[in-house]
């Protein structure tokens, strides 16, 4: 297990180095942040001096090496645009994104799993075919379209939930949460649904496919033959055997959702990391872009590792093989 972890940490560092390298390759052709920083009245000499102070006149390999050295000491510098410390900037945005992604993941499980089971058990019935049909919309509609539609219906027409922002937040240490206030809970509903819709349909389709498979297997038939009630067979025995791929999907997609949240956060003005990143890209704020990419890749690698560990917990067979 320890060897496994060391191997994983080693590969995580390699991935992050590679991501940072790619990021700096992009920076080299992305444009000139100095032109975004000074205003129209600045002279050429002022512009050159600023470029030099930022080290942007250096070849990109040197810039990359400097970044890696600083990053290794936990120094990501300060943002060109907002002049705030990049690490604390990202840390202050992380809770908003994680809460949004967490709620979206929960929604996808709480709605997706039962729907999947229902459509599998009642295969061929009109409502299960209808749900199947609707799920195509969930998979194929771009999330910003869904987001705008949700805002139009629930915010403009019905006025049930706010169309932007995070509502009131409560500070617990460095973590800011919107889940403890009414306005915060109200504000998270629309963005979470917009973000979760794709995932809900995905979970539903996977659970359905797995259920259909399991329902055909011998142990289900024997259980039914022994007179175990239908409900217990479906929800205790059959469903449990379907959850492996769902767990994998949910954990892996947690990272994808963080990436997808970029769009949702922009539409809903959700003050998370995605919004921060988009704005950094538009103003060529290299310190934020580099740190965001490295940290996101770290999250992806961590999730992958966790999934491997959880496999062993859920599936006893994998545990026994290890012994």
């Amino acid at each position: 297990m320890i060897a496994f972890l060391i191997k994983r940490i080693g590969s995580a560092i390699l991935v992050m180095l590679a991501v940072a390298f790619l990021a700096f390759l992009i920076f080299a052709v992305a444009g000139d942040p100095v032109e975004m920083m000074v205003n129209e009245q600045a002279t050429q000499a002022d512009r050159d001096a600023l470029r030099e102070r930022l080290g942007l006149d250096q070849p990109f390999l040197v810039q990359y090496a400097t970044f890696v050295m600083n990053a290794a000491q936990g120094e990501f510098g300060i943002s060109y645009q907002t002049q705030r410390d990049v690490m604390s900037l990202i840390a202050s945005r992380l809770p908003a994104t994680l809460e949004l992604v967490f709620i979206a993941s929960m929604l996808s499980l709480l709605i997706g799993v039962p729907l999947g089971v229902i459509t599998a058990i009642h295969r061929g019935k009109w409502f299960s075919e209808g749900l199947q049909f609707l799920s195509i919309f969930g998979v194929s509609l771009p999330s910003f379209v869904i987001a705008i539609m949700l805002i139009l219906v629930f915010s403009v027409m019905l006025g049930w939930a706010p169309g932007f922002g995070r509502g009131e937040t409560v500070q617990i240490g460095w973590w800011s949460t919107g889940l403890l206030t009414a306005s915060g809970r109200n504000a998270i509903i629309l963005p979470a649904i917009a973000l979760a819709l794709y995932e809900i349909t995905l979970v539903m389709r996977i659970v359905r496919a797995e259920m259909l498979e399991v329902l055909r297997s011998d142990f289900v038939k024997f259980a039914r033959a022994r007179g175990v009630p239908r409900r217990i067979v479906h929800y205790r025995h059959a469903l449990r055997n379907c959850l492996m791929p769902v767990a994998t999907l949910t954990a892996m997609n947690f990272g994808t959702l963080i990436a997808f949240a970029l769009v949702t956060e922009t539409v809903f003005q959700w003050p998370g990391m995605g919004l921060l990143f988009i704005q950094a890209v538009l103003s060529l704020d290299f310190p934020i872009m580099a740190a965001y990419l490295v940290i996101t890749s770290a999250i992806f690698v961590t999730l992958n590792t966790l999934v491997d560990i959880i496999y062993a917990v859920i599936d006893p067979r994998l545990r026994q093989e290890k012994i």
Binding site: E40, R84, E168, L276
Partner: protein, 521 residues
């Protein structure tokens, strides 16, 4: 857990308070967040315009863009390099400290520090000397005429506050250390900052001790950035915000149709035009036909600016032949006369010059000027129709700027508002002057007109307003006749306000001035 519960109760209580007082709180939904509370941190006119609510300058513009006293009540020119300013008595900062010459000195030193990205806003400043508590003398470049214009944009900090917080020098991004004024503000302005949560909200409350008589009836401003245009419009329609300084043109009709929202539309000071590369060869190595005046004239006659106004700008732009807006000193009606849309003449001119089929790339941005993407897509077929062969290169500003500054763009979209100076000297020295020394930073085409340069250099040291403006007009007229740029229009500027807002001042510099805004009682 008790602390948590207390915090909860507090925030709930605050919520109620905010709710009950909201009758006089202006909810401002902006297209973007401010970048910092420090006005000397980043060349961003939106942030500086927002911070006008918190900080004051020595002088400011009135509704007619005339310079009037603010923190300085009077000034005189002592000799050709010295200006003496008398400060307003009895002004206090938000922390209670009185305004003195000490504060002005510290602010001037801070903005003109070598590390300040905004030192270009005060180019002529050399040094300053305190005469007494309320008098300060500034030493500037000899006979510099635009000091007051520059000072409208220089916010005054409290010296003691800067000293206490180790912020006398501007934040150096290169050093990677945060500065205190980035998160905190202490000005003399009409509002004080209560809270700033980046990308979420800025809360301002009224400063009851403001030195000027308040025209507004606000008790505060709740500023919320909403970057997605559709969400912003939805927020206006649902009544979650009262005001936005950026209403999408294509949604104006919809906003107009709503009983609770009124669009407020005028023209920006920003003139949008097209610039020509004037080097011998263009990016693909072809001969540069733009050096022939007839080709530039053909370009100008090929563009149907009125259709662009009616279709792409929804009738809200102002077609022009001049390089500056009418509000800018130096403009004359003669130069404002647009060139006629005349494709036949354009074709003939092009044929005359032997340039039919002349191919080049047009460099446009998709987030630079109002509806720029549609604009550039419309211009290309207009040009091809008269015999040009145009390829469109369109991308984010960040990607296009390096191509432009390096001189590798053949032709580019360009906008210049002459802000913050509000004088045509700005475009003359920064854009039209030959690229040499500190002048011509935006001369991306490499043109050089010695007679224009000479006029600019004389204007730069001419203290008599009328004489100086006459020189600048002459230079602008040459630039127009020579078609250094092909001017298109002053772009539209669309705000929108809910019916709660009964009085709002809109000026061409696109800066909301909410210290003049009134809400219905």
């Amino acid at each position: 857990m008790t602390t948590l519960r207390k915090t909860l109760l507090c925030s709930v209580a605050l919520g109620f308070l905010a709710g009950s007082a909201s009758a006089e709180i202006l909810r401002w939904g902006a297209a973007r967040d401010i970048v910092s509370l420090d006005p000397y941190s980043y060349g961003d006119s939106f942030t500086i315009g927002f911070l006008d609510h918190v900080y004051d300058g020595l002088v400011r513009y009135n509704e007619e863009f005339e310079i009037v006293p603010a923190l300085a009540t009077e000034w005189e020119i002592v000799d050709e390099t010295t200006w003496r300013f008398t400060l307003r008595d009895g002004v206090t900062f938000h922390n209670g400290a009185p305004l003195t010459a000490e504060d002005v000195l510290a602010s001037l030193e801070r903005v003109s520090h070598p590390n300040s990205p905004l030192r270009g806003n005060l180019p002529a400043y050399q040094s300053a000397e305190i005469i007494d508590d309320l008098t300060i003398e500034m030493t500037v470049d000899a006979n510099y005429p635009l000091l007051l214009n520059d000072l409208t944009n220089i916010h005054i900090f409290n010296a003691q506050w800067l000293t206490d917080n180790d912020a006398l020098e501007p934040t150096d991004v290169g050093a990677g250390i945060e500065g205190f004024p980035t998160f905190n503000a202490n000005g003399t302005g009409p509002f004080r900052v209560v809270e700033w949560v980046p990308d979420s909200n800025v809360t301002l409350e009224v400063n009851e001790d403001w030195w000027d008589e308040a025209r507004h009836n606000l008790t505060g401003i709740e500023f919320t950035p909403i970057s997605s245009a559709a969400t912003r419009v939805a927020a206006l329609l649902s009544g979650s915000i009262d005001f936005t300084e950026n209403a999408p043109l294509q949604d104006l009709a919809r906003l107009e149709a709503s009983p609770d929202v009124d669009p407020v539309v005028t023209q920006d000071l920003r003139t949008v035009m097209f610039g020509f590369n004037r080097r011998d060869t263009l990016s693909e190595g072809q001969e540069n036909m733009f050096n022939d005046l007839r080709v530039r004239q053909a370009f100008a006659h090929a563009i149907d600016a009125e259709s662009i106004r009616d279709v792409i700008m929804q009738g809200n732009s102002r077609v022009t032949g001049a390089l500056v807006a009418p509000e800018i000193p130096g403009y004359t009606d003669e130069m404002g006369e647009p060139r006629a849309f005349d494709p036949e003449t354009a074709s003939a001119l092009l044929e005359d010059a032997g340039a039919t089929g002349f191919s080049f790339t047009l460099n446009c941005m998709n987030n630079g000027y109002v509806n720029e993407e549609e604009l550039c897509n419309a211009v290309v077929p207009m040009l091809n129709r008269v015999g040009f062969d145009v390829t469109l290169d369109i991308a984010e500003r960040a990607q296009q700027t390096p191509k432009r500054t390096s001189g590798s763009a053949d032709m580019w979209s360009f906008g210049w508002a002459n802000l913050p100076m509000l004088d045509s000297y700005s475009i003359l020295v920064q854009v039209l002057h030959s690229n040499e020394g500190n002048a011509g930073v935006f001369n991306w085409g490499g043109w050089s007109y010695p007679e224009i340069d000479a006029l600019i250099q004389s204007a730069a040291v001419e203290l008599d307003f009328d004489t100086r403006i006459a020189m600048q007009t002459e230079a602008l007229q040459i630039a127009r006749d020579e078609l250094i740029f092909a001017p298109l229009h002053e772009q539209p500027m669309a705000w929108a306000a809910s019916s709660r807002v009964v009085d709002i001042l809109q000026q061409g510099d696109n800066k909301p001035r909410h210290w003049t805004t009134r809400l219905a009682d």
